[in-house]
Structures are given as structure tokens and as C-alpha cells.
């Protein structure tokens, strides 16, 4: 049995290596019919530097095209990039591999041991079960073996013994293995440093013909293959390759170069600029509002509808259905919806009608409960608050829809309010709502869904209006101030867009490029 296991391992290894080999060679073996070409000229002016604006572990190479690329012999098909690997890397990889394999083995044993024991038990009871017994050696849903009963029993016993014997050994081996791995990793920079001793050039991949740059991005995870440490001396070389792998230019080499991570992403400056501008606007107008500057806001029909809707519900003595959508509590649209819910719930509490809030996400439910509760407190009707009115349905899109549709048709709410993140269910809900004869007010930031709400609902808050709704309902000057800030931000955007567009038209692209975000 032990041999059987070994065999399996060997097979796995073989499969792995062959798979690797397959993905390696892009163009099959060189072909008899291939025309014989002279080797192309090498690349010139090869340079290597740390990739900017990243978390490190990446090096960018640049070069000037070989003279035979696109011109001359025109024989270049790709540029193959090599890096100098110290053999220490192999040590690390080997250790890494054995750590993960040991873990897998232990895990597999833990799953398979009971299975094996159970299989043995069944078999010893009724040999006829041999046909139906499925027990796999390596991992679930792997090879099944059907053998004569006594051999099967012996094999099982052997396996179980093997597992019982080896599981603890392996388990104790993992810790030291990990420590070795860490040691080996620690030695990597030094190993890189003593180039060109105990190491070799290895291919990283090919850059297509015509390209003059290649980025070697290693993983930052020490547990992943292809990891290389920051602040280690790396050496690269580039060769121009023809369609025939064997014909290639001589190499251009560069190094040492070190990778490091940056502390500020220069490509994102425009974003920072806008955020700061917005920040300033908001603070300024909020201050103005606090000082009591009169801030006009134009009426929004959807908002005014809310009050009438609540009044209507009170007259009809039917509840109000408030849906927060299928977003999580980290979606801004849901957060906006929370504050709208707060306003609505306050009115509801004042009018002494009832509100139903079926939730899609437990955390959203928890927050919603807090919001509704505190609104009832504000309205001084704390004892009218029923926690059961804000409840969790399910976290599966269309099951949620089905359940809410049911609620609409059975509770027959006078008003449905949809605020937040809605996906394909928007129309399903809104149509059922109209069927139930409810007044419907919707607001979402999912552009694809706005049309359906517009079509099926009585009032729809389009996009940004959803985010303004809370301020409108609250009527607190501070919040109205932030609306003002949004408007001024829009003015700035329009101005920039106009100038940029004209600039590019009149041959002054610099301005537009200033606002280009990279990375």
C-alpha cells in the first residue's frame, strides 16, 4: 500500500511537470521546413529600474528595438527576457512545495482515515459491497479501485495503518519545514548579491515583436511561487528571438537593480485633487449654512411625494414597505438609504402608522433596526417601536424578490419605497407593487435599473437625487450646505471638461492630460 501511495505521488509529480512543460513552449519544436535565418541584431540601450507607483516586487525593463525588428531582416518574432536566479530560489521553492504538500497530505488523511475505516467496516460486514464501496487514496473524487475482497481488505488495513502511522509524523514535520522555509527566504537577498556565483539565467517570458518594454512582476507573498524580495540585487538580460527558437541574437545584460514599494501613488494626484476640492467645498458651505446663510434648493417631486405617501398610508390604515435594496452596509447607496429610512421612520412614528423593512443582509438589518429605533425615540414614540418590523429575509437575490413580492400581495402596503442598490429585481418588485395598488417611490444609483423604476414607479429619484434625498427630507441647513458643495463641484467639472475639450481641439492637450489618472 505504501508503494501504492508513493506511486500516486510520483504520478502526480509527473502530471505536474508535464503540464508545466506543455505551457512552457509557445512554438512547438523547431521544424524541418523552417527557413534558415541569420541571427538578428541584439537590442540596444537596455535599462532596468524599479516599477513606479507599486507595492514593490516588480522591475521594468526598457530597450530599443533590434535593427531586425520591422526593418532589416525583419526576422524578430519576440524578445525573450531572462533573470539571473540564485540556486537558493530552488531551495525556497522546494521547501515551499513540501510545506504545502505536507499540509495537503495531513488534511487528506484527516478526511480519508474515517472513510477508510468505514469502508473496511462495511467490507468486513458484507463482502458483496465491494462493488459499491468508493474510497480514494489521494483526495476526494479521485481514482476508485475495485479489487478482490481480501486484497481490498488488506489494502485498506494497510492504508489505515499507513495513515495512522504517518499522520502525526507529517503533522510534526510541518512546523520545522515552515521554519526552514523562513530561514531560506531570509537568505535570498544575500544569494542574489553574490552574482554570478551559484546561480543561472532563466527565461521569464517573451515580449512580442515591436515591444520595447517588459515588466517582471513577482508575487509579494512569500508563500507564492515567483516571489522575489525587495532590496535584492537583480540582473536581467534580453535576447531577440526569431520564429526558430534556436536562432537568436546575443544577449544584452543589465543589473544590479532593486525593487521597492512607494509611499505615494503619483498617478492618482488628480483624484486627490478632486477629493480635497470637494472636502474644502463641503466644509465651507457647511460653515456658511451654520452661520445661517439662506440656501435655496429646488423642489423634487419624488421627495414631496414621500410625505403625501405616508399620509395616505395613515388614512388607509395600511403599512409602508421600505426596501434598502440588495447592497451591503459598505455600499454608499445603502448608507444613503439608511439616512432616508431614518427620516421616513420618524414621520411614520409621528403619524402612528406602521413600517415594514425586509432586509437582504443581516448587517444591513442590524443597522436598519438601530435607525428605525432611534427615529421612534426622536418622535417620542419609543414604545410603538417593534423590532420585528425590521427583519431578515434571505441573502439570495431572487429568493428575496419572491418573498418580498409575497409580502406586497399579502400585507398590501399603501406605499412602497425603494431606496438603495437594486439589480435585476427592480422591475420584478415594482411591477408587483403596482399590481398590489401601492404608491411607489424609487431611487437607485444602478443606471441600468433606473429606466425600469421610471417606467413602473410613480416617482423616481434619478441617480444623484438619491443622495440628495436625505438632506431634502431632513431640511437641516448643514446638509443643504453639502448640496451646495455638490453643485459647485459640478460647475468645476463642467468648466474643466469644456476647457479640456476645446484645448484638445485647438492643439493644447496638456491641460486634458493633467486630469488623466494612471495606475
Amino acid at each position: 500500500m505504501r508503494h501504492k501511495l508513493k506511486l500516486v505521488l510520483v504520478l502526480v509529480l509527473c502530471a505536474w511537470t508535464t503540464a508545466a512543460a506543455q505551457t512552457d513552449t509557445a512554438l512547438g519544436d523547431s521544424v524541418s521546413a523552417a527557413p534558415a535565418l541569420p541571427p538578428p541584431l541584439p537590442v540596444t540601450n537596455l535599462q532596468a529600474f524599479d516599477t513606479d507607483n507599486d507595492h514593490g516586487h516588480a522591475i521594468t525593463l526598457t530597450w530599443e528595438k533590434s535593427a531586425d525588428d520591422g526593418a532589416g531582416e525583419n526576422s524578430v518574432l519576440a524578445y525573450e527576457v531572462f533573470r539571473w536566479f540564485p540556486f537558493q530560489v530552488d531551495v525556497v521553492d522546494a521547501l515551499r512545495k513540501s510545506v504545502s504538500e505536507t499540509r495537503d497530505a495531513v488534511r487528506a488523511f484527516r478526511i480519508d482515515l474515517p472513510r477508510a475505516e468505514n469502508a473496511l467496516h462495511e467490507l468486513s460486514e458484507d463482502p458483496g459491497k465491494l462493488r459499491t464501496i468508493r474510497f480514494n487514496v489521494a483526495r476526494p473524487s479521485d481514482s476508485t479501485f475495485e479489487l478482490t475482497v481480501d486484497y481490498a481488505i488488506r489494502a485498506l488495513e494497510d492504508t489505515i495503518a499507513f495513515m495512522r502511522e504517518n499522520a502525526p509524523i507529517l503533522k510534526n514535520r510541518t512546523k520545522p519545514l515552515q521554519q526552514d522555509l523562513e530561514k531560506a527566504l531570509a537568505r535570498l537577498p544575500q544569494a542574489h548579491a553574490n552574482y554570478p556565483k551559484d546561480g543561472e539565467w532563466r527565461s521569464l517570458g517573451k515580449a512580442l515583436v515591436g515591444s520595447t518594454t517588459y515588466t517582471n512582476t513577482g508575487s509579494k507573498e512569500t508563500t507564492a511561487d515567483g516571489f522575489f524580495p525587495d532590496y535584492a540585487d537583480l540582473y536581467y538580460r534580453v535576447e531577440a528571438v526569431t520564429v526558430d527558437e534556436s536562432i537568436r541574437s546575443e544577449a544584452a545584460t543589465v543589473g544590479p537593480v532593486q525593487s521597492r514599494g512607494q509611499w505615494f501613488h503619483t498617478g492618482k494626484v488628480p483624484v486627490l485633487g478632486f477629493v480635497l476640492m470637494f472636502f474644502v467645498f463641503t466644509l465651507t458651505f457647511v460653515q456658511m449654512a451654520k452661520k445661517g446663510a439662506n440656501l435655496y434648493v429646488r423642489p423634487l417631486s419624488g421627495i414631496e411625494a414621500v410625505d403625501d405617501a405616508i399620509g395616505r398610508a395613515t388614512e388607509m390604515g395600511r403599512p409602508i414597505l421600505y426596501l434598502l435594496g440588495i447592497g451591503t452596509a459598505t455600499d454608499v447607496s445603502t448608507i444613503a438609504s439608511f439616512s432616508i429610512l431614518g427620516r421616513v421612520a420618524k414621520r411614520v412614528a409621528e403619524y402612528q402608522t406602521s413600517i415594514i423593512v425586509p432586509c437582504y443582509d443581516p448587517i444591513v438589518m442590524a443597522v436598519a433596526q438601530e435607525v428605525v429605533k432611534s427615529s421612534y425615540l426622536d418622535a417620542a414614540r419609543a414604545d410603538d417601536y417593534k423590532q420585528e418590523s425590521v427583519f431578515f429575509v434571505t441573502n439570495y437575490q431572487f429568493a428575496y424578490v419572491a418573498a418580498v413580492n409575497g409580502i406586497m400581495l399579502r400585507e398590501r402596503p399603501a406605499t412602497n419605497i425603494y431606496m438603495g442598490k437594486f439589480m435585476a429585481e427592480s422591475l420584478l418588485l415594482a411591477e408587483t407593487g403596482t399590481l398590489a395598488g401601492s404608491i411607489q417611490i424609487a431611487g437607485t444609483d444602478e443606471i441600468a435599473q433606473i429606466p425600469f423604476f421610471i417606467v413602473a414607479c410613480d416617482y423616481t429619484l434619478i441617480g444623484e437625487e438619491l443622495y440628495a434625498a436625505s438632506a431634502y427630507l431632513g431640511r437641516e441647513p448643514v446638509l443643504l450646505g453639502s448640496l451646495k458643495a455638490q453643485d459647485w463641484a459640478k460647475v468645476v467639472i463642467m468648466a474643466v471638461a469644456l476647457i479640456g475639450m476645446l484645448g484638445t481641439a485647438l492643439g493644447w492637450p496638456a491641460f486634458a492630460q493633467m486630469f488623466q489618472v494612471t495606475g
Partner: protein
């Protein structure tokens, strides 16, 4: 203080950190970022218990008050418990052994507990029954070796019952509920696409043109330019509309988020 200031402080701290983390590509900031995302997942899992609690509450309440359609609440409970049971167990061989009696015992246990919660009278008999069924379940689980529990490995996600329940039942229900849209989109169009005013007419016309873009029966009416017109509508006015809406939403989002982080908008978090 404890109830309001500290939560706001937490919001401010985390918000500010993640705001600036965006501009710091360095490994360490990434590490914290990923760690925080794990927090959200983990807390979500714990919160699920709260959700399930609420789910059960609602249905127990329904059954208690004999609310319209209360009998169906049992279906939900059974569905939930069944799925969870399948999600923790897996066959060892081909044999089923006492698996389904076990499932039945578990279901009965939960139903008895629900009943005990819902009953107006004496809950003790139900609790007793629950204890009995729980005992049965335990005994079966103890003696039966054809299947076993998996709490720490995701083996059951591939187990026979769990997969079949998902592939055949959940997928069917999901796809069918989704496909109701085919009808609702028709009825919505019929009801709402009326040229009440200029805006409705524009909506109506654009929709009609795009809908009939490939419809040969309408070729004599619209001529063969209709497909090009619909293409133009999709790529020009639609693009313009999307831009405006997207930018507006972006500003709205940033404003809301900023208000929340700065504590200007406090309505999302309870007071008392």
C-alpha cells in the same frame, strides 16, 4: 458617550484610514487593507447568526399569531434546517444507511422547538418532544457510519444532497423567478409607454426604435435605417445620459461618504 461618540470615532478613524490608503501603494498599507476586508467578511459571518435569529423570530411570530399564511412558515423552517443539515454532512460510500431518518429527526427537533416558541399554552411537551428527537438524532449520528459530519472542511458542499438541492431546486427557482421579467417587462411597457407628455414620448419612442431594431416584420414601417438609428441611440444619447448620471452619482456618493466620515450626517446610526 459610549453609545454615540465612540461609534462615530470608529467611523472617522476607519474612514480616514481607507481614504488615504488609496494613495499609498506600499506593501504595508496593502496588508492592512486586506486585513480590514477580512474583518468585514468575518463580522458578516457572525452577523448571519443574528439574521437567522431574526428569520426564526419572524416565522415563530407568524405561527403564534396565526397570521395569514402562517402554515407556510413551516416550509421555510424545514427548507432552512434541511439545507443546513445537508451542508454539514456527507456520505462516505454509496450507502445511505440511516441518513434520512437522521435528517427527519433533526427537522422534527427544530419544528418542536419552533412550536414550543409559538405555542400560547404550555411549551413543556414540545420541549420534551424536541429533546427526544434530538436524542434520536444523536444516537443515529453516533451509530451510523455510512455518513459523517464535516464542520471544518468544505466536503459537504460537493455532497450528493447539497449539490442536488442546489442544481435542481435552487437553480430552477432562481431562473424561473428571474424569467418572470419577460412578462413584467411587457406589462410595464404596455402600461407606462403612453405619450402623456414630451418626456414620456421620448422614452417611448427611443424604446420602440431600439426594440424593433432587428424585427423584419417592422421593416416596411421603419425602413432599414432603424437598426442604424438604434445603434446611434445606444451610442450617442444613451452614452451622454450615462455620463451625466454616472458623474452625478459619483459626486453624490463622495458627498454622502464624506458627510458620514466627518460625522455631519449622523442619521445612519442610532441615537438613544
Amino acid at each position: 458617550m459610549m453609545k454615540q461618540q465612540i461609534p462615530r470615532l470608529i467611523v472617522l478613524v476607519f474612514g480616514a484610514f481607507l481614504l488615504f490608503q488609496f494613495f499609498v501603494p506600499h506593501e504595508s498599507s496593502e496588508w492592512i487593507y486586506e486585513f480590514l476586508l477580512d474583518w468585514t467578511i468575518i463580522i458578516g459571518v457572525f452577523a448571519l447568526a443574528v439574521g437567522i435569529w431574526s428569520l426564526f423570530n419572524v416565522h415563530v411570530e407568524k405561527i403564534k399569531t396565526k397570521k395569514f399564511g402562517w402554515k407556510y412558515s413551516y416550509v421555510t423552517v424545514i427548507g432552512f434546517v434541511g439545507m443546513v443539515t445537508f451542508g454539514f454532512t456527507s456520505q462516505n460510500g454509496q450507502e445511505w444507511g440511516w441518513f434520512f431518518p437522521f435528517v427527519a429527526a433533526v427537522l422534527l427537533t427544530v419544528l418542536m422547538i419552533v412550536q414550543a416558541g409559538a405555542t400560547k399554552g404550555n411549551a413543556l411537551p414540545f420541549l420534551g418532544a424536541a429533546a427526544f428527537f434530538a436524542l434520536c438524532a444523536t444516537v443515529i449520528a453516533w451509530l451510523d457510519t455510512t455518513w459523517s459530519f464535516y464542520f471544518q472542511t468544505s466536503v459537504p458542499l460537493q455532497s450528493f444532497m447539497f449539490r442536488r438541492m442546489f442544481d435542481n431546486i435552487l437553480i430552477s427557482l432562481h431562473a424561473t423567478t428571474f424569467s418572470l421579467l419577460a412578462f413584467f417587462i411587457a406589462s410595464a411597457a404596455y402600461r407606462a409607454f403612453r405619450a402623456r407628455n414630451i418626456m414620456a414620448s421620448l422614452l417611448l419612442l427611443a424604446a420602440l426604435v431600439v426594440m424593433s431594431r432587428f424585427n423584419p416584420y417592422l421593416e416596411p414601417i421603419f425602413g432599414e435605417h432603424v437598426s442604424r438609428l438604434s445603434n446611434w441611440l445606444m451610442n450617442v444619447p444613451n452614452l451622454a445620459a450615462q455620463r451625466a448620471v454616472i458623474m452625478g452619482i459619483g459626486l453624490g456618493m463622495v458627498a454622502t461618504a464624506l458627510k458620514v466620515v466627518l460625522g455631519i450626517e449622523r442619521n445612519y446610526m442610532g441615537k438613544g
